[in-house]
Amino acid sequence: MGFENFGQISFAAQTKVSDFVDFLKNGELRGTKCQECGRIFFPPRADCSWCPESSMEWVKIEGAGNLVSFTRVHYGPTGFENDTPYTLALADFNGVKVFGRITKELSEEQTKIGMALKAAAVTLPGGQLTYELIPA
């Protein structure tokens, strides 16, 4: 699938890591791993700037991460106005960080920095694919 299928609104259609969307469709969140130095990247990159080389393999982002920080958004940009409020968050999966939304089922009061979260693939109404963070 093309990268234009990622996210509620897609701003970029072409990337060398568009397989990310196919993995999402299969229920998997994947990043890339540099075959030279072993560094893992999320969001996935086609190129490792450390080596610098472009030989990557896909790896699953699995298990539980810890919530680094979050915010409840009450004013959304164009295209997201009717979606508010929603919660944006950053979570740390053993050193690999994931940015995304926390499930709307978790209230702001229930959301605590440090809590364990896992990533789940989501198909949005209309068929776009994304992921969200849910309690682990």
Partner: protein, 384 residues
Amino acid sequence: MPKDVAVIGVGQSSFVRNYEGSIRELAFEAFREAIKDAGITPADINASIICSAPEYDKQRSPSGLIAEYLGLNPQPTFAIETVCSSSTTGIRVGYSLIKAGLHDIVLVLGFQKMSEISSADSQERMGRGADIMWESPFGTMMPAYYAMHARAHFNKYGSTEHDLALIRIKAAKYGQLNDKAVYRKGLELDQVLNAEPVASPLKRFDCCANADGSSCVILASAAKAKEISKKPVWVMGLGAATASLTMTGRDALDGLDSARLAAKEAYAMAGVGPADIDVAEVHDCFTIAELMAYENLGFAEPGKGVELIRAGETYLEGKIPVNVDGGLLSKGHPIGATGGSQVRTVVLQLRGEAGSMQVADPEIGLVHNIGGVGIYGNVIIFGR
């Protein structure tokens, strides 16, 4: 202390909600003031650097147009952009041109007519200020990113929404004294704390106002400055750094690494430390940004920034006066013009020309200007 490049003229337009003129006319307002302040003519300017965030401009390549309108042909002109820190990046480039010996006098003009595009277009562009592949698809906005920094700071250090409100109250106090500020009303603690949420824990008054505005800073070589200026203010130290635009590339969210690194570099070049700073302008696009700046600039230890605002030490009569012109919070934040406006305030302070906002006899001043959510960090130290 280096005395190679001086500021010989500063100017600023009023920062307003909807400027009733074109971008060339807006630019002219700051230019006219700076040229008169420096006591020179446009023909004395050897090169101009034009700074704006281009996503707000309808005019393609505005540098050429503005140089023409300001009477700066046939001298070279070009654009410099690092979003909200564009005009201090322009000063960094201008400094380099003079230090390299290419030019004697360089003009740095920052402007933004944020009302040039519709509110809906503006909201659309705001959403694209993040990584458009990996973050914008979730519905991100600038307040949300700073809000995540605020929550991380609260959690690590015990700072509170009340502390942030104290910073807003200070900005509102000084905004009332600044006749070029867009927001000139005072604010009470209750109003700030009870305002509607924007991105928790940030509320309406924790966020700066968008504005249209321009700023102009004229730089000169030491020889020229001594020849033509009665009141040169010297660029003593410059620091600039960057950090990952994408939040997943950040180690922590309780401060801005680009600001820490830029400050370290600027202090080292100037041969001074945080305790030597007599007056500072910091990039308070949100209240939490000012709190983090206290710590990232070394005015307070990490986590101790709240003590400065709780004790009133960043007020005009305090230990380290910060944003006593109202800051971005009250003055307004016309992206490309903001850094030059901060520089103007510090220059006026060091000359003793800041009027009712004047700090008692400052010798060394600091400007902290941030692009995006700490993507770009610029710190400049000035001395008499």
